[in-house]
């Protein structure tokens, strides 16, 4: 066989590296920009794009019928996310003088501004540093499908689009009470959102153009276009019910904006399940391993396996255990092996080819912050961490009522899976590690370390494990499949 021909091997470290730095998504963005702009010198263009450092900035469009609260919500979002706030008015104000003149002219003549001019204004505005570096919240634009498509063709595409929806009657009613503070531009309402400050109260004026007749016309216009625009932004859109108090609307919008769009990047799962004894880590790990064909790495079984296989680390572990003269009970070891022995055993397993290529789900380890740090140092960085939360009483209920039939080997639970006949019930035996004291001791151990683990694993997500296994599994699945929510530094 020709020696120079061998199958292409991509080193497995590359997949961790690529995931960490988001290489796939970066490529996708660069290609998008290239294809849209088609610069004559792609090399210089790419250098410029890379220097911009604007991968993660929010790019939001907020749409909705008049009086839905677009301005208030956009202002709140722009403040919280610290981005530029663009509205149709300030776009015109801040645009270049000759365009500005043209647009003011058209507005005076009550003509619609043509799409090309809008696109021009927007492209210019978005090139400015504040939009590039910090992102933007665009309010109330595009208003028609034509405008949306024109934006798309120059490559302006939001990462999130929010539509504030409310029934027409509510909107018309709201419009009646709408008041504007001429100094700050804030919008208040006679019934729902009255300003606390008496000084502002005296200043408030009614805005023109919000009489009932005007509203009806505007609403007709809005409904004509909104469906098409929805179609354009189908993948990034979310409708929020605007018929709620402002704070509720804002919290819904904000949590949507924290979520990232699903990426097509290839993804090897490296999952860590943390939780007190009895929270169902083993069950969930088995379900995950089964469904997604990843390797189920249980620290307890690994230790026992390595002792049985008499590997080097296994022998060290065995020696240690024999010295402390305590037995190894079930899944949880009563004796605590020193960190370096456990780390050796884990490293051996996680470095094997099947773990590296298929991914792994780890449970029962790490237990302390030092273990977590050691694991990361060795290069085994998890990309999903879950804290299975379950109250102590449920744990006690789950574990103390467990029993095994010594003859058939079947496991029963007095509440969830009771034995069928009295005969079986009489011969059932409980495992000593399931006694209430033992369980409480293990719970205490867990709660001693869980805080520092939560500190260290900032991307950990909490799952309510006080439900039946399949509900918990679905919850975990959705958290794995969706990208990690972004955290905006406040």
């Amino acid at each position: 066989m020709d020696q120079t021909k061998r199958p292409l091997l991509i080193p497995p470290e590359f997949s961790t590296y690529a995931e960490e730095h988001g290489i796939f998504d970066m490529y996708k963005r660069l290609m998008e920009q290239l294809i849209v702009s088609k610069p004559s010198d792609p090399l210089a263009f790419l250098v410029e794009q890379l220097k911009k450092e604007n991968d993660d900035v929010p790019q939001v469009i907020i749409l909705g019928p008049p009086a839905s609260g677009k301005k208030s919500i956009s202002k709140l979002c722009a403040n919280k996310l610290r981005t530029a706030h663009l509205t149709t008015e300030n776009l015109i104000q801040e645009s270049e003088t000759d365009i500005k003149m043209k647009v003011m002219d058209l507005i005076k003549k009550k003509e619609t501004v043509p799409t090309e001019i809008w696109v021009q204004i927007l492209t210019e505005r978005l090139k400015l540093m504040d939009c590039v570096k910090k992102g933007y919240v665009l309010e109330g634009f595009p208003q028609t499908r034509e405008q949306a498509l024109a934006l798309q063709s120059v490559g302006i595409h939001p990462k999130h689009c929010v539509i504030l929806d409310a029934p027409d009657t509510v909107l018309i009613e709201r419009a009646q009470g709408r008041r504007v503070d001429p100094k700050t531009g804030d919008i208040y309402h006679t019934t729902f959102d009255w300003p606390p400050n008496a000084e502002i109260q005296t200043r408030l004026e009614e805005t023109p153009g919000y009489t009932e007749e005007d509203m009806v016309n505007k609403l007709i216009e809005y409904h004509r276009h909104i469906d098409e625009i929805e179609e354009c932004y189908r993948k990034v859109i979310k409708k929020v019910n605007a018929d709620q108090p402002k704070a509720d609307v804002f919290s819904q919008v904000y949590s949507y904006l924290c979520g990232q769009p699903r990426s097509n990047a290839p993804h090897t799962p490296r999952i860590v399940l943390l939780g007190p004894t009895g929270s169902g880590k083993g069950v969930q790990a088995a379900l995950l391993a089964n469904k997604y064909n990843i390797v189920n790495v249980s620290s307890g079984s690994l230790v026992k396996q390595s002792i049985a296989d008499e590997t080097k680390a296994g022998q060290a572990a065995k020696a240690y255990i024999e010295k402390s003269m305590m037995g190894v009970f079930g899944n949880e070891q009563v004796v605590k092996l020193p960190d370096n022995i456990i780390l050796d055993i884990m490293r051996e397993r996680l470095a094997q080819l099947d773990c590296v290529s298929r991914g792994w789900v780890l449970h029962g380890y790490p237990r302390t912050r030092e273990q977590a740090e050691a694991l990361a140092k060795d290069g085994f960085v998890p990309n999903r961490i879950f804290f299975l939360d379950v109250p102590n009483d449920s744990v006690i209920e789950r574990l103390t009522l467990r029993a095994t039939d010594p003859i058939t080997g079947e496991r029963y639970h007095m509440l969830y899976n009771p034995p069928r006949t009295q005969e079986i019930k009489e011969r059932l035996q409980k495992h000593p590690k399931d006694s209430e004291d033992a369980v409480r001791r293990r719970l205490a151990e867990y709660s001693a370390y869980v805080e520092e683990l939560a500190d260290y694993y900032t991307e950990g997500q909490h799952v309510n494990a006080d439900q039946d296994p399949h509900t918990v599994f679905e919850c975990i699945e959705s958290m794995i499949v969706n990208p990690l929510p972004k955290r905006f530094s406040t």
Binding site: D2, Q3, T4, K5, I10, P11, E13, F14, Y17, A18, H21, I23, M26, Y27, M31, L34, I35, K38, P42, L43, A44, L46, V47, L50, K51, E53
Partner: protein, 139 residues
Amino acid sequence: MSSTASTVGRDVEAREYLEQHRVLELFNNMTSQLIYNRPENPKKYMIDLLEKLQRSRATKHDYPCLFDDTNIQSVYNMLDPTNRGFITLQQYKEAMDTLGISPVNEKVEGASEDKINFDTFLSQARSGLSKASATFQAS
């Protein structure tokens, strides 16, 4: 309908653009560099690489490439372990393919006798690699 015609038109335009500027090859080369080197700051590394490429485009030589002369030497030695002094045409073609050079220039010196010696191999490999790395529009 004009919009479908224009979208089809733009699709074709985009593909032509990518081919003309050899964008896909550029990305392939960048990826191989990234896989091999795994720099701490990939963006900065990519910027460096692109700037190097720009400079080499201006000076017309020294294109950034993963393989250098020693690699070419090793490939040749692997194919000719007994040191006969030449490799067959088939081996030569396979080796060029492995290095990522295509199309392979078959009409090289010695092809008719099926004996390609090291110098021919070296020069062909060098020119092939520079062509593969010069991923920008031929000026």
